[in-house]
Amino acid sequence: MNAKYARHLSVLGEEGQKKLSNATVYISRVGGVGGTAANYLARSGVGRLLLAHGGTLDAEYLNRWHLAHESDVGRPCVDVFKEEIARINSSVEVEVLGEHAKSIDDIKAFANEADVIIDAAPMFEERYNNNLLSQMLNIPMISGSMYAQEGYVMSFVPGETPCLSCLYPEKPEFWVDRHVFPALGTGPGIIGCLLANEAISYIAKGELQLKGKMLHYDLTDMDFNKLKIEKDHQCKVCSA
């Protein structure tokens, strides 16, 4: 086994590591949550990352974006991601879509070869597009999000579990742009780690620990709970 992954051996096995190196992961937004996931997936030796993210880097991202540094402010985000991931692990192939997941046609064309979707966008419209993509292409989606000191992670498997729209068919009205959520860096970091771990488990061992479950936390009192979520048989996305 490659020395970079030597410590994986008893956890994933050589076969699991090989599966990782052959896997493609689509990540929707590569910020505090998605960027942390991308970081750990790159270090784990995943074969290919497909990153959808638009815009340039703002200073306010620096409290939580693992892939960004002060000198990157003002640069196109996708340039920063490609450069940083190449520094972390040059074996990882990185493809970028310099846009957010706003168009279902665009992400379908971009991410159709993904083995798993990581849903980490700060806008519900993009999350609902990722959910639709997951259902259309029959690709499992691991979704993680936060607000202030609270957050959750869920794994959705088309045809098997509830989907995102089963649980939350509509967004809260106040969520009009990416500026609405308060965040320390730690919360998105936790979520990103959990997303990466779930993706690695799925790729290497075919196991999703949060299939049909929500892992919810509140760091206010370090309260972590695994909750059972239910399919909505009237869901417009997965029960149509």
Binding site: R29, G31, G32, V33, G34, A120, A121, P122, M123, F124, R127, G144, S145, M146, Y147, A148, Q149, E150, G151, Y152, L167, Y168, P169, E170, K171, P172, F174, W175, F181, A183, G187, P188, I191, M214, H216, D218, T220, D221, D223, N225, K226, L227, K228, I229, E230, D232
Partner: protein
């Protein structure tokens, strides 16, 4: 006694200092009765969760002892020792 865990946004909007509350006036009964009691302790709690017609908002889910509530709140009976979690849809990253 029943403990209700409240979502961050609700705590902000209703200016609450605590993450969870114990509803002392409630001994046993339905989830709806619990939330009616909660709304007396914390005015605005019920409208945060439900529309004017009483139906739960589509970005809110309630969990009783780690199980998602899918039934009408009036049909969910509580014995007085459950953990209740109100969880709002989030998208922060």
């Amino acid at each position: 006694m029943i403990t209700v865990h409240l979502p961050s946004r609700m705590r902000e909007e209703l200016d609450l200092s605590s993450k969870s509350v114990q509803v002392e006036a409630f001994q046993s009964g339905s989830l709806q009765e619990l939330f009616n009691c909660l709304d007396k302790d914390i005015p605005g709690a019920l409208p945060f969760m439900c529309d004017a017609d009483g139906s739960v908002r589509k970005h809110i889910k309630v969990f009783v002892s780690d199980e998602q509530v899918t039934d009408n709140f009036s049909n969910v009976n509580l014995h007085g020792h459950e953990n209740i979690r109100v969880i709002q849809a989030m998208a922060g990253g």
